[in-house]
Every structure is written in C-alpha cells, then in structure tokens.
C-alpha cells in the first residue's frame, strides 16, 4: 500500500503491464483454463534434457518452480504475477510438453468421505 503520497517501487505497480509478459495474450493458448489448485509439475524431459534457451525469463522461473509439484496458486503467489498471466504462461509450458497438469482428484469432483476424514484428522492434529 502506498504510504503518504509517494508511490515508489512496488507500490507504484508493475513497471510493465502484466499482460505484456504474455505478449498481450489474456487467454491460455490451449483454451483450457487451469484451476487455482490444479497441481502441475515439470516433465522428466524438461527437468533432465531440456535446454531452456528459447524461454522467456518468466517461463524459466515458473518452470524452475515446477521441479516439484506445485499448484497454480503457489506459482502465482511465489512469482507475484497475476493469476491470469500465470495461467497463460503455464499453458505455454504445457503445450511445449515441459510441464503436465498432474493426475489426481479432478478439481471439480467432490472429495470422498475418507479423504474428508483425513483432512479432519489432519486439522485436529495441528
């Protein structure tokens, strides 16, 4: 938040408008929009044999974060990039085969009672 009437550094907002990082694209190239808690992870190929020379700094940074399974929200929060921008960049990486959205419980599906109980136990143990 700006203090006083001077807006400096990050308070002044991004120097580059967010969607400049995506070349103005606001929709993921694949058309599929990732949920905030979709888990993504770099493919073995991207981790071991890929060279990242053709990637933008933002793509690289995101790809670096995906060495371990992370959610879309994690990526957006860590990079401080807006969610919409992160989605576009992630979709690029998915189409390049560098990351995959990981199989798991599909986001729209209701969790099973067993899983809910597990959550309950986890909370009680906090």
């Amino acid at each position: 938040m700006p203090t006083g009437d001077k807006w400096v550094d990050r308070n002044a907002g991004p120097v580059v408008r967010p969607y400049a990082l995506t070349g103005g694209r606001t929709e993921p190239a694949s058309g599929a929009v990732l949920d905030v808690i979709t888990v993504i992870v770099a493919t073995t190929w991207a981790q071991e044999t890929d060279d990242w020379l053709d990637l933008s700094p933002e793509h690289r940074r995101i790809l670096g974060l995906c060495r371990r399974p992370v959610t879309v929200a994690d990526v957006a929060s860590t990079t401080a990039l807006p969610l919409g921008v992160v989605r576009v960049l992630l979709a690029d990486l998915i189409m390049q085969g560098r990351i995959t959205a990981r199989a798991g419980r599909p986001v729209g599906e209701e969790p099973s009672a067993a899983l809910l109980k597990e959550v309950l136990h986890g909370l009680r143990a906090l």
């Binding site: 907002g13 967010p18 969607y19 606001t26 694949s30 058309g31 599929a32 929009v33 990732l34 949920d35 905030v36 808690i37 979709t38 888990v39 992870v41 770099a42 493919t43 073995t44 190929w45 981790q47 060495r67 371990r68 399974p69 959610t71 929200a73 994690d74 957006a76 929060s77 401080a80 990039l81 807006p82 969610l83 919409g84 921008v85 998915i94 995959t100 959205a101 990981r102 199989a103 798991g104 419980r105 599909p106 986001v107 729209g108 599906e109 209701e110 969790p111 099973s112 009672a113 067993a114 899983l115 809910l116 109980k117 597990e118 959550v119 309950l120 986890g122 909370l123 143990a125 906090l126």
Partner: protein, 295 residues
C-alpha cells in the same frame, strides 16, 4: 501421462483443497488466515465485469478495463500430501467473478461475520446458498463489539437449520482451527445426508459450540477495524443482479489423464443462474430447506 518427477513425494499425489474465507471489509479475514497459516498475497488482474462497472469508480481512468485484485492466500500443509488453501475473498458483489472460480470444486466456505455489521455478511451467505457450497458462519468476537449468542446471529442471518454458526476469535490459532474443523465436519455431515457418503454421521449437532469459550481476549483488535465499511452497501437483494463471470472458462476440465470429466452430478437442485456458472460446476443437492427464500 505423468512423467513422474523425482520429488520425493513418492506415489502420493498432492491433495489440495480450497476453502473460501468470505466476509465484509474488516471482518477479520486476513487475521483469520494469518492465525493459522502463512499469508501471502495472490493477485489477479481481471477484466472488469458488467457487475463491477457500476460499482467501481472509473472516472478519470478512461478506458481501464481490467482491475487488480489482491486476495489473502494461506497455505496449510498437513501430513505428506494434504494441503488446504485458504482464500480470503473480498466480500463485495463486484468481486463475484473471482468467487465463481474459487468456489468451483471448493471444499466449503467460512463466512466471517462481525456483529456490528452483520449486514455485510448477507451477500456472502446468499452467494453460498445459491451456489450450493457448504458453508458455516463464524462470528468474529471483536473487543468492544456486542457479544451475541450464536443462535441470535443465526436468526438474524436467516440461516438454514443445518448451517453451523459458531463464535470465534480470528486472532487465535486454536479458535481458527476449530472453525475449520467445524466446516469440514459440516461438509462431511451434508455429504452423508446426501447419501453420497458412507460414513456414520459424526457431528451434525455442532452448531452452537463456542470454540472461544467466554474468554474475552483483550488486546489489539486488529488494524482492519479502523476501516469503515464504506463499500459494503450491498444487502440481500443485491444478490440477484450481477454474476456475470467474465472469465469464460474458469471451470474448464483439467488436462488429466484420468479422463473423468467434471460431472454436474445432481440435477435435483432448482435451476438458478449460478448453477450454470462457468463449466457447469457440480452443485451439491442439499440446499433449499423449506421456508428459506433466497433473495
């Protein structure tokens, strides 16, 4: 299709859950999220929706068509693979385009209520009722605010008989923990009620427990308090108007290998504008108790 990464997590996939923390401005959402997890900001740069055009003052901004919204975002890891994501979402109607997305596939929601400005909770309560997302109401006990019985608040908010309403202190970890436990128990109970689960009902009767006890904690009530509720003019009837999710997509199926497309599971729910929210989010069946009119 997974090329399994060597991340040390073995075969256990990450099981992330979304929980929404809703409430009016200054109700204590940030405090609550911060009491139990590390809070980090999460920004969205979104196109202004029809709904927000009337609300956001665009004078002098010219052709601005996107707006940056920051929400509180907390991450709570339990064990090796369970992760709860808490999203503190702005309670005003104009942010509903975010809610539509966040509530898709969410575990449930907590409506954080401030007894001094109970009206601020109406839009949230209405929203979750319509959306069919299980929610509980947590009454944040601010210092100096009149203390009400949870039951009074339930009546004032016209909550359905099964929606738990509990008192809490958003600054206290153990209290927030109890809030989350109550929510998950409620979700579990409604699931059982719907016949979609097999578990015996553990706790539908939790409704009026008071996790805070009666200890009236003193100390700073949080700086949020200072903020005046200037932009909370939305009351019940506001619920009807603007849910025009501008994000066309949000619910698009994940590119998973399992091939199980999201299914709008039950058709029992009355058709309402929200059930056709992006991507046809599944709407759990239990809503619509008798005598409850929704906005």
């Amino acid at each position: 299709m997974d090329s399994a990464p060597s991340d040390g997590s073995g075969d256990i996939p990450l099981a992330p859950f979304k929980i929404l923390i809703a409430g009016g401005l200054g109700a204590g959402k940030t405090t609550l999220v911060g009491a139990i997890s590390e809070v980090r900001p999460l920004h969205t740069e979104e196109a202004l929706t029809q709904a927000s055009v009337g609300t956001d003052d665009l004078t002098g901004v010219g052709r601005k068509t996107t707006t940056t919204v920051a929400m509180d975002f907390g991450r709570l890891t339990m064990g090796t693979h369970l992760v709860l994501y808490l999203f503190g979402t702005p309670g005003q109607e104009r942010f509903w385009f975010m809610w539509d997305e966040l509530s898709f596939g969410a575990l449930g929601a907590v409506v954080l209520a401030d007894t001094r400005r109970l009206g601020d909770s109406f839009p949230s309560v209405d929203y979750f009722e319509r959306r069919g997302l299980p929610f509980i109401v947590a009454i944040n006990c601010f210092d100096g605010a009149p203390r009400y019985d949870a039951e009074d608040v339930r009546i004032a908010l016209d909550l359905g008989p099964r929606v738990p309403a509990i008192l809490c202190d958003a600054r206290k970890r153990h209290s927030v923990k109890q809030v989350l436990i109550t929510l998950v128990e409620h979700v579990l109970a409604s699931k059982v009620k719907n016949g979609s689960g097999s578990a015996p009902d553990p706790a539908d009767s939790k409704s009026t427990t008071d996790p805070v006890g009666s200890e009236p904690a003193t100390g700073s009530a949080g700086s949020e308090r200072a903020i005046d509720a200037t932009d909370s003019g939305t009351i019940r009837e506001a619920a009807d108007s603007g849910t025009t999710p501008d994000l066309t997509n949000s619910a698009a199926p994940q590119p998973t290998s399992s091939g199980s497309a999201p299914h709008p599971a039950d058709s029992e729910t009355a058709p309402d504008p929200l059930s056709s929210a992006p991507g046809g989010a599944p709407v759990p069946a239990r809503r619509q108790w008798p005598g409850q009119e929704l906005g």
